[in-house]
């Protein structure tokens, strides 16, 4: 049995210290060790994007990263997005524009969109679609999701 590995991760601004098995995936660490089940698992080949979180501000697929690799990093999950109970602009956009149906892909969609808007504050519809290439949705047909990200971009621009 491999030696457990001690990690220190800042998750949604809270310090977390745990001994973990090397094989524990970051997504399972977040869900099962930290109890943050908003990050979902939809595939095992790094394609669906439901598990997307921000690691040191960058969108990554937490199913394709071992928890040990996040040692020393700062992770933001969907649960850490709202501040003081106030929805993030992207969350608000998804709500306003019916950007979700079953909601399963939604946390990953939102996290990818947050990172997308951080890189490009005023994306075109095509750029939004391209930016969401790594996130699959089977319910919405994406059109309302693109509306949602657009809505968020405009809301942020308005301040």
């Amino acid at each position: 049995m491999p030696m457990p590995f001690h990690i220190h991760v800042t998750v949604n601004k809270a310090d977390q210290h745990h001994d973990v098995e090397p094989r524990l995936l970051l997504v399972h660490y977040l869900r099962d060790v930290c109890g943050l089940t908003g990050t979902h698992v939809g595939c095992e080949t790094s394609l669906c994007g439901a598990c997307t979180v921000l690691v040191d501000g960058k969108a990554v697929k937490s199913c394709t990263m071992f928890a040990v690799q996040a040692d020393g990093s700062s992770v933001t999950t969907i649960e850490g997005l709202a501040t003081n109970g106030q929805l993030h602009a992207v969350q608000q956009g998804f709500w306003e524009c019916h950007g979700l149906q079953c909601g399963f892909c939604t946390p990953g969609m939102i996290m990818t969109s947050v990172a997308l808007l951080a890189r490009n504050a005023a994306p075109s519809r095509e750029q939004i679609a391209e930016g969401l290439r790594g996130n699959l949705c089977r319910c919405t047909g994406y059109s309302h999701i693109i509306d949602a990200v657009n809505h968020a971009a405009k809301a942020v621009a308005r301040g």
């Binding site: 524009c97 079953c102 946390p107 519809r125 047909g141």
Partner: protein, 785 residues
């Protein structure tokens, strides 16, 4: 240019119905606070992993679980020999005469019949160890001959999927209706023949299936959380499998991450995990991997057919004959054999076709079962009739819209009996077509195509005018009751609790039902809560499928409200010292003009009902009503979809340049949600027409077992939609609503396919199997140029 069609409504403005309101279910979901099956954590919970067959057909010589059991943390390793006697048979609810059905145990017995067939289960303290354990199980297989193609499977000498059944043919189902088909074909000037293929599809909800079971030994009660569309049907069927009585069984569908028919089933794992919880005296969780979802959750479509249309030279269609071979896979799941027969029900589409004859042959192959996938039968029928209309128009050189218009029943012809034996409730097909043409700027579209063709480009326009069957359905036409149940209770605080027997999983009925209830009861929408998906809360129900939620479930709630208001009026009359017929109820206020100036509001009345000190004789305390709604017919939404495409000659790539959909689902409770349903449905069709396909190789190996190899649409595959609607209420229910969950998928597949074929028509290409992949398009172009 695209614009938002539906400004989101101010939540404080009434009426709520008909307005684009933000969803009530969203705040928890966008915060990551929804509880899906995999999010459940119970004390002492252990984790199951299932070992699945790598063979499409094999005899199991021996299973050695010794090494797996020795792994620290492993709780149990069990095979079919250990569990099947306690788990009954996986049920099929479809009543098809002379159906040959194999015994479907939860784990394989001495044979496996498809890749992904469950062979053994390991239970461990964590899912990693459970995975270690199934890897350590040694199964000795003796491979047997495999059949993977349904057309081959009906040939003499084919390997048999189930040798004990003696044949691969599960059933032959004949539908004929209307006039004499032979006479129709005798009178025809021409017989137009066409062969059409509906490829196998994998539904791929983003949340795979999952089950958590907990058994209370002392009480003998079982609680089963499962990612399902049908908690109530499971509660009806699971008792017969595992022996826990229905009234000691609670089924919960927590948040469910998409269904599309894939979760409209009773699966082996539901019985197996329940049994393990009982056997091991501890809660057990099983979560499906994507690979297992692709291999062992139902597939859709997989039908191939030969079709013949009898026509006069002026385009008049006299009759339609079809022979369809439906690939059922190796086992019957809940509705497997019924789905192809649904195709037969709307074979004539939205046209007057005097005589029809259809033969459906359901065939076993060594593949996963097919079953209801979004649209279930209607996309198949719509694709074939709409392709045939184009083929007929092309052969007779008449305009394809004229051909369609010529065969539409007029608005005055409704209720319209069809040759397939249905009675369409209401419709105005020409109006939808006209509106779609307007939105598409039809004449300009034709000019653009002509210009593109003149410039040597391959440009096409496709049209589909469809009708579908929704609001399933009248119980006499359904396998296990098509009614719906609801309950509306006004609490003592005047908050309204609504319980529905439908089980939404993305369709937004927490919002649409709240809109209906708030308007009818006259309370603010935030005072309404919709409960669903838990059989201990919603005691009865027939769940969510077949675009039935609002039309059937919503109607049950309307009936409850009417009963509740009638009861409230009795008390109001008592308080007004008059009779009920002198009480007026409006906007949440009870008055009695001419009797008194007093106004009674819900809080006062609700208090009286529960304090119960001043009730008239014979009036029961409490303010609650429940109802079962039994629909007298299905509803028949319809519409017109128009699609324009450009083809890249060099790469075969199809680009959708315009997409217009006009759908008539009756009055829309929430246009934003309707729009979402239509857009989502069209996306499934884009996938089906252009790239999705489930592929088994000749050895029966599933080679599209992951998102790496099975493509579903992504954001950049989606065109800008132009959506519109017409409103033709249904007379079948008091809301007039028809249903819209599957419309997009039913209307869009033929529109897109017809567009691609239209683009290829100048080259003389008249046939292409779905999906119309770049390589197929390129090959077709290459052979003609």
């Amino acid at each position: 240019m695209r614009r938002r069609r539906w400004p989101v409504a101010d939540p404080n403005t009434t009426p709520y119905v008909g307005r684009a309101m933000k969803r009530i279910e969203d705040p928890r979901l966008i915060r990551g606070e929804g509880t899906y099956t995999d999010d459940l954590r119970l004390p002492g919970m252990v984790h199951a992993a299932i070992l699945r067959s790598p063979h499409a057909h094999a005899r199991i010589r021996k299973i050695d679980t010794t090494a797996a059991k020795a792994i620290p943390g492993v709780v149990a390793v069990l095979t079919g020999a250990d569990v099947n006697a306690s788990c009954g048979l996986v049920p099929c609810a479809a009543a098809i005469p002379d159906l040959k059905a194999p015994k479907h145990t939860v784990l394989a017995g001495d044979r496996v019949y498809f890749v992904g067939h469950a062979v053994a289960v390991a239970v461990a303290s964590d899912p990693y160890i459970a995975r270690d354990a199934i890897e350590a199980i040694d199964v000795d297989y003796d491979p047997l001959p495999v059949v993977t193609n349904a057309e081959d499977a009906v040939k003499i000498g084919s390997p048999l999927t189930h040798p004990d059944l003696g044949s691969n043919v599960a059933y032959t189902h004949n539908v004929s209706g209307g006039g004499n088909i032979d006479e129709a074909f005798r009178k025809a000037d021409r017989i137009v023949k066409h062969r059409l293929y509906h490829q196998r599809l994998t539904p791929m909800p983003i949340e795979p299936r999952g089950v958590v079971a907990s058994y209370h030994t002392g009480e003998g009660t079982l609680t089963l959380w499962t990612a399902t569309q049908i908690p109530h049907l499971i509660r009806t069927l699971l008792p017969g499998m595992i022996g826990v009585p229905e009234n000691k069984m609670r089924i919960v569908a927590p948040e469910v991450g998409g269904g599309f028919g894939a979760k409209l089933n009773v699966y082996p794992e539901e019985a197996l995990i329940a049994h393990l919880a009982m056997r091991l005296h501890t809660p057990v969780k099983w979560i499906e991997s994507r690979r297992d979802n692709a291999a062992a959750t139902i597939h859709g479509r997989d039908q191939v057919g030969e079709y013949e249309v009898a026509v006069k030279n002026d385009g008049t269609i006299l009759g339609l004959k079809s022979k369809t071979i439906a690939d059922l896979g190796s086992y019957l799941q809940l509705l497997t054999p019924a789905v192809p027969t649904l195709t037969g029900l709307v074979l004539t589409g939205c046209y007057t076709i005097p005589a029809v004859k259809m033969e459906i042959v359901g065939v076993y192959t060594n593949k996963m079962a097919t079953d209801a996938y979004r649209g279930a039968g209607r996309p198949e029928a719509t694709y074939l009739i709409e392709r045939l209309m184009d083929v007929v128009a092309q052969e007779l050189k008449i305009d394809r819209l004229d051909l369609r218009l010529k065969h539409f029943p007029a608005p005055g012809d409704f209720p319209f009996p069809t040759s397939c034996g249905l009675v369409y409730d209401s419709g105005n097909y020409a109006a939808a077509l006209t509106k779609a043409k307007q939105l598409a700027n039809w004449d300009q579209l034709l000019k653009d195509r002509a210009a593109a063709r003149a410039a040597g480009k391959l440009s096409g326009i496709g049209v589909s005018t469809y009708v579908e069957i929704c609001a399933m359905g009248p119980s006499k036409a359904m396998p296990a009751g098509g009614w719906e149940w609801g309950c509306v209770r006004m609490e003592i605080s005047a908050k309204v609790t609504v319980i529905t027997g439908v089980s939404p999983h993305g369709q937004g009925q927490e919002t649409t039902f709240a809109q209906i209830v708030a308007d009818r009861v006259g309370v603010p929408i935030e005072d309404v809560v919709i409960l669903h998906g838990d059989t201990s809360v919603a005691h009865y129900g027939r769940d969510t499928y077949g675009s039935r939620g609002t039309a059937v479930g919503g109607t049950a709630i309307v009936m409850c409200i009417d009963k509740m208001i009638a009861k409230a009026k009795t008390l109001a009359a008592h308080l007004f010292e008059t009779t009920s017929d002198h009480v007026v109820f409006e906007n949440g206020r009870f008055t009695s003009p001419g009797v008194t100036n007093r106004v009674i509001t819900w809080p006062e009345l609700a208090g009286e009902f529960y304090v119960a000190k001043n009730l008239p004789p014979g009036l029961e305390p409490g303010l609650e009503a429940s109802s079962f709604f039994e629909p007298q017919n299905f509803t028949f939404p319809f519409g017109t979809h128009i699609c324009a495409v450009d083809l890249d000659r060099d790469t075969g790539h199809v680009k959708i340049t315009k997409y217009v959909a006009v759908d008539d689902c009756g009055p829309q409770i929430n246009p934003l949600i309707v729009e979402g349903q239509v857009q989502g449905g069209i996306a499934h069709s884009i996938g089906q027409v252009l790239f999705e396909q489930t592929i088994y190789n000749e050895d029966g190996q599933l080679v599209t077992g992951e998102f790496m190899d099975y493509a579903i649409p992504r954001a950049h595959d989606i065109p800008d939609y132009i959506l519109g609607s017409t409103v033709t209420p249904s007379p079948i229910n008091p809301l007039g609503v028809k249903g819209v969950g599957e419309a997009g998928t039913i209307g869009a597949t033929p529109a897109i396919a017809n567009a691609v074929m239209d683009a290829l028509e100048p080259l003389g290409i008249t046939h292409m199997n779905l999906p119309m992949t770049p390589e197929k398009v390129w090959q077709a172009i290459k052979t003609k140029t």
